[in-house]
């Protein structure tokens, strides 16, 4: 329940910011219809404070919804829900709504270039930070949750440099392989009687071979290995970033470092869960369940998703065919021009694949072959970069304290006391007035009339 509250409040913050943007739009364009707003966007911008505020408000809304830094802390906690719900809502569809929002309203962002650069920057920071946090998580679902934030970081990065169709493409392929990973993790958790701690797992590849293959496809797609889905979409983003000047080069390097992190944490997951010796827990649980991988209605969707994660990326191959970008042309004019220098394309792809393989190799060395000792995990990463603690200290506690102070000092001391003072005053006055209380209705009426006329008189004087 605490997680639900946190998710709700964080999203309420996003809603509030977004509402502010909408209010500005109503005030300055008189409408909220997409097309009408876009056609008037040019008259608002470029780079005026109005359009910057509108874009910033929409951005905060998108950040909260898509769990990007700094409004990201609700997503991992929301993994308390049942696994299929996590897969559907928190990985594949709902959280990517922020990306959709930015892409859908891109004419506004284009009038606010600084905000749009911020979008890309936030994406880059998030993909690095959450990728790093994912490395130290021990809960299998939390690893996937942090990887979701990291992958949405790529989408933000793409949207921030104007590669809208690349962002949407990654959104689609991500939905395939992330849902696959979640459901695969669900199968594993189910087989292990609800255990989610990866440190207690190991050696599952022999007991659950089909799940192993499916998860391998998911992890490979996530890490961007060809010919799996993630390779094509991530490549499109990195290539566009590289061709976007100095800022683009910086973003490209962040994205490339992210590729290394992605390969590291996704294969860390695979190796911890599936390779090595069978752990005590695995032996205990799987000797009970004879089937191992669970009933068919549970594995069938995993198989379908594995197929999509494998081949979903072929929807669009840079330089060869672009049905996906064509499909989006009406909403997001695509930058298909990237393919002008095929040699550079190939080079960039090669670099990112090599980096991903490097990540895989390191993960193998540490977690599977165990030829390297596992590095000491930095405290900052375990504390999730201190965001939760900072929010608690900066916002939650002051709000609670303020509420308590207001209640005890102002509400009780001033507002409620004032009536009581009037009450005791009235009682004291009542003793005097008791003399007048002679029980004659006539004199009461007289007094009331006298009082009312006094007020009346005052009114006439001060009118």
């Amino acid at each position: 329940m605490a997680a639900a509250k946190k998710a709700f409040v964080m999203n309420a913050i996003g809603d509030a910011a977004m509402a502010l943007a909408l209010f500005l739009l109503i005030q300055h364009t008189g409408t909220l219809e997409f097309q009408a707003v876009f056609s008037k966007a040019a008259s608002l911008g470029p780079n005026t404070w109005v359009i910057n505020l509108v874009a910033a408000g929409l951005l905060v809304g998108a950040i909260a919804k898509s769990a990007q830094i700094p409004l990201h802390t609700w997503l991992p906690d929301a993994m308390e829900g049942p696994t299929p719900v996590s897969a559907l809502i928190h990985a594949a569809t709902m959280v990517t709504a922020g990306v959709y929002l930015i892409v859908r309203t891109h004419p506004l962002f284009e009038q606010a270039p600084h905000v749009q650069q911020t979008v890309a920057g936030i994406g880059a920071v998030t993909l690095l930070a959450t990728g790093a946090i994912a490395l130290v998580q021990t809960d299998i679902k939390r690893v996937i949750a942090y990887s979701t934030m990291s992958q949405i970081g790529y989408m933000f990065l793409a949207a921030g440099i104007g590669a809208y169709s690349a962002a949407m493409f990654h959104l689609v392929t991500h939905a395939f392989f992330k849902a696959l990973l979640f459901l695969g993790a669900g199968v594993v958790i189910h087989a292990l009687d609800g255990e989610q701690d990866m440190r207690k797992m190991g050696g599952l590849r022999r007991r659950m071979p089909r799940t192993f293959v499916a998860m391998l496809i998911g992890a490979g797609a996530l890490a961007g290995l060809p010919p799996l889905a993630g390779f094509f979409s991530k490549d499109a983003i990195l290539a566009t970033a590289f061709s976007e000047g100095v800022y683009g080069k910086v973003l490209f390097s962040a994205g490339l470092a992210g590729v290394l992190l992605t390969a590291l944490y996704s294969f860390r997951l695979i190796f911890l869960v599936f390779s090595g010796e069978e752990s005590e827990l695995v032996r205990e649980c799987l000797s009970k369940h004879k089937g191992g991988e669970g009933p068919r209605w549970m594995t069938a969707p995993v198989a379908v998703l594995a197929l999509l994660a494998f081949a979903g990326g072929w929807l669009e191959v840079a330089g060869l065919w672009h049905p996906f970008s064509r499909f989006l042309e009406g909403i997001a004019p695509a930058a298909i021009v990237v393919s002008s220098t095929p040699a550079r394309e190939w080079l960039l792809s090669g670099v990112s694949v090599i980096v991903a393989l490097g990540g895989l190799w390191i993960a193998w060395m540490i977690y599977s072959a165990r030829s390297q000792p596992a590095p000491r995990t930095p405290k900052a990463l375990i504390e999730k970069l201190y965001f939760d603690r900072a929010y608690d200290l900066l916002f939650y506690r002051p709000a609670v304290l303020l509420a308590h102070r207001l209640a005890s000092l102002f509400e009780q001391q001033v507002i409620e006391r004032s009536v009581e003072e009037v009450g005791t005053g009235a009682l004291r006055g009542g003793r005097v007035a008791a003399a007048i209380q002679n029980g004659l209705a006539r004199s009461y009426v007289l007094l009331v009339a006298a009082g009312a006329s006094l007020v009346l008189l005052l009114f006439l004087i001060f009118r």
Binding site: M1, A4, K5, F8, V9, A12, I13, D15, A16, A17, A19, L20, L22, F23, L24, I26, Q27, G30, T31, L32, E33, F34, A399, V400, L402, A403, H404, L406, A407, E411, V414, I415, E416, S418, V419, V422, G423, A426, A452, V455, L456, F459, L460, F462, R463
Partner: protein, 516 residues
């Protein structure tokens, strides 16, 4: 005729109920029948040969008879479009409250139900009065049953609560009486013909009286005790209905008789003050709701916050904010009635409303849990809900008056999520509280029917908020200058034919902005 019938039916019912020599069940049933007939009577306003015309600028179902002709005082009633909705709210809330009273089996039934029906008639009369003296008489007539209902049927500390309530409202009422006399003698008592005024004192006289009744910060001292000590259905009426009377007073009297005609007119000069009080009350109420130790405390302070929000909308003026305010009045009327009745249902099972002693009530009680979650989520204005539509319109309108005021509203939206979720989770989740007996029953069918009907109303408005928002201000006959989009050029809209101005929430934009 309809208006007079709407006033007369509950009054006649009150008399009949008072005299009926029967058991409390029979008396209560008769009262409920009258309340439902009243609701049905209101619904006939939608149909038939003489149906209510939402596009009309004029007063409808009007009736006028001379009363004290020397002073131009008359029995003059009639309904504007927004008053029609408020009368509808009255019939719904009172029917729900009487039904709950019947279910709870209130003692001294003749007096109890007679007072409830009398209250119904008085409130309808307030919402339809077109004469200041009649307005005042109905306003006072409305207070008397409330004093008695709290003072006789209330909780342990009912006497103190009643005293505070009487002290505050009597002060407000006397101020209003004097103001009405002074105003009426020079400008006329009939609201449809009375001339406008620019006197700061008269403005303040009305404004303070209504501020006490709403209540708005800082004149809300009577609120926490009255809402806690009244029987739950009376608390529901207080917060759901009576608070709207004040908002109505602002709309019908203050804004039309003291129009903003630029510097020197009180509404223009003091608007910032009232906006500031509303914004303060909004945040203040939300914060106090967040730390309130009991169910009713949370709802009471959230009520203060919601009335402040409506105040923000009213004092912002303009088409969006005003129609949003009317929509929100109806929303909040339904929501807070339902919440207080749920509070009553819970208190009758656990004999406490203290959140620390509650908890874990969701397990095995699906009806209670579903209703509380649904109504709670609507009340925190989740997008798609009726309250969201109302708050969005109010704040969008407020934003055009000044972005800072809307910012306060947005902060309050976040706080609303915090206090409502705290309430829901404290009652329903965690371990079962010490005050929750193991076999505490779920809501009974009767309770489900009452609260469920209110929820159905909220859902209906959620589906089509424009049904009320777009049909609130065909017109008042008076005009008022309100500067909207461009503060430099005053536009004649105000209460005048607001729906005829720019179609900001026209059929197409509604789907984008308010009703996803």
């Amino acid at each position: 005729m309809l208006t007079t019938s709407l006033i007369a039916l509950p009054l006649a019912g009150a008399l009949a109920v008072f005299l009926l020599p029967a058991s409390k069940e029979w008396v209560g049933s008769l009262a409920l029948a009258v309340a439902l007939a009243e609701l049905g009577l209101w619904i006939t306003g939608f149909f038939g040969k003489r149906q209510f015309d939402f596009g009309s600028a004029k007063i409808q179902f009007e009736q006028k008879h001379a009363w004290i002709s020397d002073l131009g005082i008359s029995y003059h009633v009639g309904l504007f479009t927004f008053s029609f909705w408020l009368v509808g709210l009255t019939t719904v809330v009172m029917a729900a409250a009487i039904a709950y009273g019947l279910w709870a089996g209130r003692e001294r039934a003749n007096a109890y139900y007679a007072l409830m029906l009398f209250l119904t008639g008085a409130v309808v009369c307030v919402f339809s009065a077109q004469d200041l003296i009649l307005f005042y008489v109905a306003f006072e007539a409305m207070m008397i049953p409330l004093y008695l209902l709290i003072g006789v049927w209330g909780g342990e500390r009912r006497v103190a609560a009643t005293f505070k309530f009487v002290a505050y409202t009597m002060a407000g009422s006397l101020l209003m009486l004097v103001t009405i006399i002074v105003y009426g003698l020079s400008h006329g008592f009939d609201l449809t013909t009375a001339t406008t005024s620019s006197s700061v004192w008269l403005f303040l006289g009305f404004a303070i009286a209504f501020t006490v009744k709403a209540p708005l910060f800082p004149l809300h001292g009577w609120l926490p005790d009255a809402y806690r000590e009244a029987p739950p259905e009376v608390a529901a009426v207080l917060s759901g209905l009576i608070s709207k009377v004040a908002a109505f007073g602002f709309l019908r009297i203050v804004f039309t008789k003291f129009p903003d005609l630029g510097a020197g007119t009180p509404l223009h000069d003091l608007r910032a003050l009232f906006l500031a009080l509303s914004a303060t009350g909004l945040i203040y109420g939300s914060l106090l709701a967040f730390r309130a130790p009991d169910f009713r405390g949370v709802v009471a302070y959230s009520s203060l916050a919601q009335m402040s929000l409506i105040g923000l909308g009213l004092f912002s003026g303009g088409e969006l904010a005003l129609s949003g305010s009317v929509l929100q009045m109806v929303n909040h009327g339904l929501i807070s009635t339902a919440l207080f009745l749920l509070a009553g249902a819970i208190e009758s099972r656990t004999s406490t409303g203290v959140l620390k002693r509650l908890g874990g009530m969701a397990r095995g009680r699906p009806i209670l849990a579903s209703l509380l979650v649904a109504i709670g989520v609507i009340s925190l204005a989740v997008p798609g809900s009726s309250a969201f539509a109302g708050e969005f319109m109010i704040l969008a309108g407020t934003f055009q008056r000044g972005w800072g005021w809307a910012l306060a509203g947005l902060v309050a939206i976040v706080l609303a999520a915090m206090y409502m979720l705290r309430l829901i989770s404290a009652v329903l989740h965690r371990e079962p509280g010490e005050a929750v007996p193991e076999h505490t029953p779920d809501l009974r069918p009767a309770e489900l029917c009452i609260v469920g009907a209110l929820l159905a109303g909220m859902l209906a408005i959620s589906v089509w908020p424009a049904g009320i928002a777009k049909h609130s201000f065909a017109c008042l006959t008076e005009t008022q200058t309100v500067s909207t989009t461009q503060p430099s050029t005053p536009v004649q809209i105000g209460l005048e034919c607001v729906s005829a101005t720019q179609p900001l929430f026209g059929s197409s934009a509604t789907s984008a902005g308010v009703n996803p």
